[in-house]
Symmetry: none
Subunit: 225 residues, 2 copies
DNA sequence: ACCGACGCTGAAGCCCCGCTGAAGATCATG
DNA sequence: CATGATCTTCAGCGGGGCTTCAGCGTCGGT
């Protein structure tokens, strides 16, 4: 079971990592919100343990940004008992569970196990658009039954479009979701990856699932083109 | 959240109904394909849980008939593990997700929630004015069911009018919304685009959805002209 | 009925947008 | 450290859409 811990207190994070690894979890650590966000989307986790007080980007924002982009893993928030924010807030932003600091280690492990079990049922998520199938869990895609090899970026772009199939998505939206919230570079990267995507999922089949809406963005045809 | 269960095993259906209602879902039941089909189209649901083995009309056919008529709600299929048909078939007919029998109740609830969340975002913001339909999400428009190709500017103008359908909108308003807050140029650009719009959405149909109110601005007829 | 203002529209040029191949940078892997 | 894959940047191209402009039609006021 894979766990990501996003916690800025390094000693606490390290202690949790040691403890959880001894319990058989695979644990990664991020020490701030931005890193946590990137790490969570880069690698598949079953549960993300998210501290609220984080430098840069706080836990609430990380959580809501993850959920907004369709993030599926379980999220367990660590709330400070005397914090200015409360548990309701945590759940509102899409967290599955929360734990008040200071917490018992045994309780944390129990909650993690319960959450992982609960979340497990969510997978796999599939989006099917005509003969185009996108498996968000396995991160694979197929057209007319034939599997198609996509690179990480290509799949991420396709995923973002698939989650909004039928609707137009702006390049800015795609940049925010697939790259970084405040990516500075040229939007041309999106065009390049869309081009590559089309070469793989459209051109060989004479279809046009990925449509350009000039001046606005892209749309993934709800019927696969 | 409204759920329709189409399942011929009455005890299973009743058990699911009780369980889901305890979770806060509003649940209706149909025991065969024909009833399910009628019920689904008669009343609005967020998700339809559809068994494959049904008397009369099987789940695949119900699903594809619903989708063929443009049915939008999420469809979760229940497949028998040893069935002669497989999951691929389910997805091909337009299902959003599937679950093999026997399944864990907890998993079903999680999948339902996930599907509802996914489908909820799919609902297009749709403005319909008589036989004129403007889909703000997909940025498409159609008259009498026939899709109409619009450019970005044309659609933006139409969108602005559609959101105030029935009211007169000044050219200045349109300039501010579609062009720029402090656009300097001639208001003639609006006239040009309105002209193009009429050529596409009115002229071919002998209608007049876009009306000129001399000295004031334009009005999009609430009934499509 | 006349006149002026307002609105409509076809044509044309230009500019912006998006596409794509290739090269350089970066990352993973043995 | 070497190699290959993937990602990003860059520049050129091609086309479609936006804008401008001018001429004409239409409406309303006098």
């Amino acid at each position: 079971m894979r766990v990501l811990i996003v916690e800025d207190e390094r000693r606490l994070a390290a202690a949790l990592q040691r403890g959880l690894e001894a319990e058989g979890f695979a644990v990664d650590i991020a020490h701030d919100g931005v890193t946590g966000l990137r790490q969570a989307t880069r690698s598949p986790y079953d549960v993300v343990v998210l501290d609220i007080m984080l430098p840069g980007l706080n836990g609430y924002r990380v959580c809501s940004m993850l959920r907004a982009s369709g993030y599926q893993a379980g999220i367990l928030m660590l709330t400070a008992k005397d914090g200015e924010w409360d548990e309701a807030e945590a759940l509102d932003t899409g967290a599955d569970d929360f734990l008040s600091k200071p917490f018992s280690y045994v309780v944390l492990v129990a909650r993690l196990r319960a959450l992982a079990r609960r979340v497990g049922g969510r997978q796999p998520r599939l989006v099917s658009l005509g003969d185009l199938a996108v498996d968000l869990g396995a991160r694979t895609c197929a057209r007319a039954g034939a599997p198609i090899r996509l690179t990480a970026r290509e799949f991420a772009v396709l995923e973002h479009l698939a989650l909004r199939a039928g609707d137009v998505v702006s390049k800015r939206d795609i940049l925010d979701a697939v790259w970084d919230e405040h990516y500075e570079g040229d939007a041309n990267v999106v065009e390049v990856h869309v081009s590559a995507l089309r070469r793989k999922i459209d051109a060989p089949y004479g279809r046009a699932a990925v449509q350009t809406v000039r001046g606005v963005g892209y749309r993934l045809a709800a019927d696969g083109g």
